[in-house]
Symmetry: C2
Subunit: 475 residues, 2 copies
């Protein structure tokens, strides 16, 4: 390969976001991140993924940390490295669709507080659900010179997801003004030689950089990265070795070493990576000892490949069947899942569509009659409230589940009135910074609990620091 032109690949390090979200339920506190940032900043990563996804919720809810404060501290430490976040399209980092004004404001504040690259995805790959976040990012970029909108396509298998589909999506993503494309394979479903075909085809259709994001869950991840890179992928997502493999990403050092001396050489220094690994290794040992890191998530879950559904979806299904004493229906439900998925327009099986399809499949089997009972979420999908699916939904199912109801075909957020002012009004007593309204918008109850906690801490600190003799506070 020595004659080939050099084409160094970039690596996004996920240890501060996806790796700990996948392995230890998003429980890494900011204080654990800060001591190693200087070293991480020397590597030359394409970016460090360190915010968004479940970290926002987990910070507020479990760690009693202000996520915005975390972001500012990270930005403060990473002088040379871009910061990346994961953004759930119109759902932002929450669990319902928001009005455009909230999306715009969240994007603006994310970049203002330190984010460079915003990875935006939608569980239906309905690009209309991403457009507002992409446009908002581009607006900030035009104004401030910082901000990069990456559109992530949720990878899935199924009749509708042909090479033509992915090629067509790549073109549309470029047309909508995104700065790069990510193939986001949350379940580790993308097989190595499929990656060859897919990435080759997409590279022919777009000039945008292509990033691949997968998980080691099913055991193929490093091979998939290798074939994707050989086919032209530009960037891969990896985690430093003590936080790699299993439900997390391939190990950074392994991919760096693999491509050393090839045209894809990252040029990263293994000694610097070793320092980072040495920092996290004792923490890994503690998490193993405490049970926060379960060795079961470190193994290979081949069921994902066998049944072509995400591992998490299968374990949810098992618990639902157990609750109903119906574990013998496992294979019936397994057969029902692709049927329900087809009825609902064959959406990607990622959160939340995976849960919606899985739960409805359990209902269909347990009730002995398909759609005798439909969940609230199934109804919402059928009404079009989650957006458009790749295939039409089953009219017979629509007629049975939501007879006579109106369905929407517009962008769902077009029906949501701007809501920022209302949210501001609701939470104004707690406001200490502009960003607080966004925390409140995403997790109203959790944010208020956090605000109360924050205030209590401040009062406690203030009291202990108060100069009681002179009845004055230090300046």
């Amino acid at each position: 390969m020595s004659e080939q032109v050099k084409k160094p690949i970039g690596i996004v390090e996920t240890v501060l976001r996806d790796a700990h979200q996948s392995l230890i339920a998003t429980r890494m506190p900011t204080e654990m991140m800060l001591p190693i940032i200087d070293t991480m900043d020397k590597v030359g990563y394409h970016a460090v993924e360190c915010w968004g996804g479940a970290t926002f919720d987990a910070s507020l809810r479990f760690l009693k940390e202000d996520p915005w404060e975390r972001l500012r501290k990270l930005k403060d430490g990473f002088k040379n490295t871009k910061l990346q976040m994961l953004f759930r399209g119109q759902n932002i980092l929450g669990y319902r669709p928001y009005a455009d004004d909230v999306v715009d404001y969240f994007v603006e504040k994310s970049i203002a507080n330190g984010i460079d690259i915003i990875r935006i995805f939608d569980c239906f790959n309905d690009l209309r659900n991403l457009q507002e976040a992409v446009s908002a990012t581009s607006k900030v970029k035009a104004r401030e010179g910082r901000g990069h909108a990456q559109v992530a396509l949720s990878y899935t298998l199924g009749d509708a997801y042909t090479l033509d589909y992915w090629v067509d999506m790549a073109k549309k993503v470029e047309e909508m003004g995104a700065d790069s494309i990510c193939i986001k394979d949350m379940a580790g479903l993308l097989l190595p030689y499929e990656a060859t075909k897919m990435i080759s085809a997409m590279k022919g259709a777009t000039s945008l950089p292509i990033e691949l994001h997968t998980h080691y869950t099913s055991g193929v991840a490093s091979m998939t990265y290798m074939k994707a890179i050989e086919a032209g992928a530009d960037i891969i997502d990896c985690a430093i070795s003590p936080m790699a493999m299993g439900t997390s990403q391939p190990a950074t050092e392994v991919m760096v070493e693999t491509f050393k001396g090839t045209p894809y050489d990252t040029g990263y220094d293994q000694n610097v990576l070793a320092e980072i690994a040495d920092y996290f290794r004792p923490h890994r040992d503690e998490w193993l000892a405490s049970g926060l890191l379960n060795p079961k998530v470190m193994g290979v879950d081949i069921k994902t490949l066998l049944y072509q559904v995400p591992g998490g979806m299968l374990s949810n299904m098992v618990s639902q069947l157990k609750e109903q004493n119906a574990e013998d229906k496992y294979y019936d439900v397994l057969r029902e899942i692709p049927e329900v998925r087809k009825d609902l327009g064959e959406p990607p099986l990622v959160t939340p569509s995976s849960q919606i399809v899985g739960t409805q499949a359990v209902f269909n089997v347990l009730m002995g009659e398909r759609y005798k009972m439909a969940t609230k979420e199934t109804k919402a999908v059928l009404r079009g409230e989650y957006g458009q699916t790749v295939k039409p939904m089953n009219q017979a199912v629509i007629d049975k589940v939501i007879p006579g109801e109106e369905r929407i075909t517009c962008r769902p957020a077009d029906l949501i009135e701007n809501e920022l002012d209302k949210l501001e009004a609701e939470m104004k007593e707690w406001k200490q910074q502009d960003e607080d309204v966004l925390s409140y918008a995403l997790f109203p109850q959790v944010a208020v609990d956090f605000f109360k906690y924050r205030q209590a801490q401040q009062e406690k600190v203030d009291m202990t620091q108060a100069d009681t003799k002179n009845a004055a506070y230090p300046v």
Copy 2:
């Protein structure tokens, strides 16, 4: 790739030998193997590795099992699948070189009791140390129609180990009458794109089938298999998923799925593999719970790639330094290792050469003077007692460590008198089957302890089964 000619690869399943040797200290008892053999026999594996290596010692010593009895039971169950064993050249399965008559007899009895493929290796890749075992296998094959001699070359890195070296070795292995070649990478040092070069070059030099054996220790294993297969490798060694990854092999199901629909398609049935995985998964959980399987061996040990020495060698070194309160000398020893290795003719770093080089390096650093003290093993290597190394040894070191001593250049076993009669004489009181003398030859003390245990068990069983009324035993 659809136009390419089909070239199905073979998989050797290691769960019954290397996987449990690597993950749970070779502690899988025969009783745990037997219930799943019928299912395993349906897969169509190229072979099942199930005997030899450390299993012989572990059976006798820890499990109180007759390894020959295990082999016969395995042979009984595997009606359609070839059985494979690992054989340490002139050291057979023990820790010293044996006379040729013992080697011959061991080969004969291994095949007679059920082995089809004997993988034979030497820690110096000195083919003279393999010749007797290869010839003995070929002799049985000519006579009985069963038996396959595979020569395994110990993979290592270093100046001497050029592509030319491997090509030359491949030719010599073919000339010596072996039936196939294995590249045996015990430490997971073979990087993916190096595998491309090496396997391509070797395929051009020999028509023998080429098998690749590696471990996931350093995290590259599945990628290395992929590149090796693309370059023409015929067979890879894998372990069923619950016993795969970490210090074990890549997962069987993952490699099967990866190559499905390609010219390399194994044709194995994932449903049968899933049954096998379902059988071992609860055992894995038990071993994790009991601590026999340490989650630490499931991670990625990147140090192997960084320092190009096997992970086990580094951990030995750390314990030796700890004992001497000299952990600050870690990097000094790390630098000394390649120097000692060069002095000793640059042997592969595999058991036992890795320990010999590592310990001598520790001595050289701690004594403050190189070779002020030399281990018994270093002296033996310098005398030529382990065989010939790829490069000449350092004359100045020879003069310092074994001044005036005679060195041997012949095949070491040429100096060992036939010893089978003597061994027979020593153990005849315990003999219940022909094979017992071989158990005794390899592990005299352990074997005698086992023979005593066996006899005690038999007497106990006999007594409880005795028809005490009629003072007669059942027939």
